[in-house]
Amino acid sequence: MPLLFELTGIRFAYPGRPPVLNGLNLRLDEGERIALTGPNGAGKSTLLHIMVGLLRPQAGTVVAFGAPRRNEREFHEVRRRAGLVFQDPDDQLFCPTVAEDIAFGPLNLGRSTAEVLEIVDRTLARLDLSHLRDRVTHKLSGGEKRLVSLATVLAMEPDVLLLDEPGNGLDEKTRGRLVRILSELPHALVVISHDASFRRAVTSHQYRLHDGRIGPSATHVGGGAVEP
């Protein structure tokens, strides 16, 4: 199977701090769905940001979609094909209305207005969110914000979804809805989650990030492995 991401020997430290990631390796195959766990501050969010080039590692290489990625220009394509959903939807939803926020990505990709409106409606319908189309983003509930921020990323038609704690702060019902949506999507996934049942429901393997690297023992959730 073709590789979507291959990170090798990644070392990253925030200025003036000890390295967060040190000698980290990660591969993601097409259609693969993996969960990332690890203690708070282990560097999980940092890792996703490195994958889409928001942060540059001090050492190591990022190969994505078959090409090495080193500079901003090379990462533009990565960001289109790998949709990152941020931990806090308030960081992601910045447009006045839901429709405009979903349109933001496709418009940046140079789609025409007619095409964009089509994409907006299709994406909303796909997530069963059509009733939110003209709502003002900052007045949505926490759960609605979370689902809409997933929609804004899906509208870019990415091949991979990178989700940073998507189940956080959701009530039972909305969480169930998110699980259903994610299990129906065909995308390759990297999901950060502290919730074992959520991980089991939407991913097939899980990796644990610890001491700056991904633990050698990747446990197959399907194989009945117990969480370390």
Partner: protein, 257 residues
């Protein structure tokens, strides 16, 4: 928080609220320009009358609107009271070595009328637009895109920052903080404001990162569907007639004096 809510509600009724937002902004701007250039008291009273009727047509609640106007007038009160004493002219009142002039009094009344007429029309035509529509209309009227985006970001995040402030304040109160006139209070409030700034800065960095993830490269695209209709043409005509009428009335009045 209430201000933001009031600004961003799309609900609207009344004949004026159906008009195209671009037209409402332009009409208010034109009216303001005309009113500022008027000089006769009679014309100014007519302008205020017109403004009041626009307010009624927009179905603004009279009470709160007039209270807002009073608040604005309160700000100007000091200047208005001083004007008669500083503008030289025919004395009308003498008080403790200061003389109030009739010309100064007329000037003060003129300013008061102009300000009230302009603000009333702004409240009726532009104030009833929600901030989102206002931003779009301004963008379509070729306001610089950066200013429009600044407006959008302000509307979007003022509530988020407000909540952050409330959270920090609650956390302080939960640990027994009671504001008093002490160094400790001032230092704590200083930390609070500093922390809000730091949070806002970090949030802005995260927002930019999220935008870059969705292909943002410095250009904003807008989606909207404004279209002028028959009612808009009628309103544009009325505005033109009213403004020309005011100007002509002012000219004849000036010629008569």
């Amino acid at each position: 928080m209430h201000i933001v809510d009031a600004l961003s509600d799309r609900a609207g009724h009344g004949s004026i609220r159906m008009l195209d937002p671009r037209l409402r902004i332009m009409a208010a701007a034109l009216f303001a320009l005309v009113v500022v250039s008027l000089s006769g008291l009679a014309t100014l009273f007519t302008a205020v009358g017109l403004a009041l009727s626009v307010m009624l047509a927009a179905r603004l609640p009279a009470g709160p609107t007039l209270r807002r106007m009073a608040a604005m007038d309160g700000f100007m009160l000091l200047i208005l009271v001083l004007l008669p004493f500083t503008v030289p002219g025919t004395p009308i009142v003498e008080w403790g070595g200061f003389t109030a002039s009739a010309e100064g009094l007329v000037k003060a009344v003129e300013i008061l009328l102009k300000a009230n007429a302009v603000v009333l029309v702004l409240l009726a035509l532009v104030g009833s637009l929600d901030a989102v529509t206002l931003g779009h209309a301004l963008a379509r009227l070729r306001m610089p895109a950066n200013l429009v985006q600044l407006l959008f970001f302000t509307v979007r995040y003022i509530g988020v920052i407000g909540e952050e402030y409330a959270r920090l304040r609650t956390a302080m109160r939960a640990r027994g903080f009671r504001p008093a006139n002490t160094l400790h209070t001032y230092r704590s409030i200083g930390y609070l404001v500093g922390m809000l700034l730091v949070h806002s800065l970090e949030r802005s960095e995260r927002i930019l990162a999220a935008m870059r993830c969705r292909g943002f490269q410095g250009r904003f695209h807008l989606l909207d569907d404004f279209a002028y209709g028959r009612a808009d043409a009628l309103f544009a005509g009325l505005t033109a007639v009213a403004c020309t009428g005011l100007l002509m009335m002012d000219l004849t009045y000036a010629a008569a004096v």
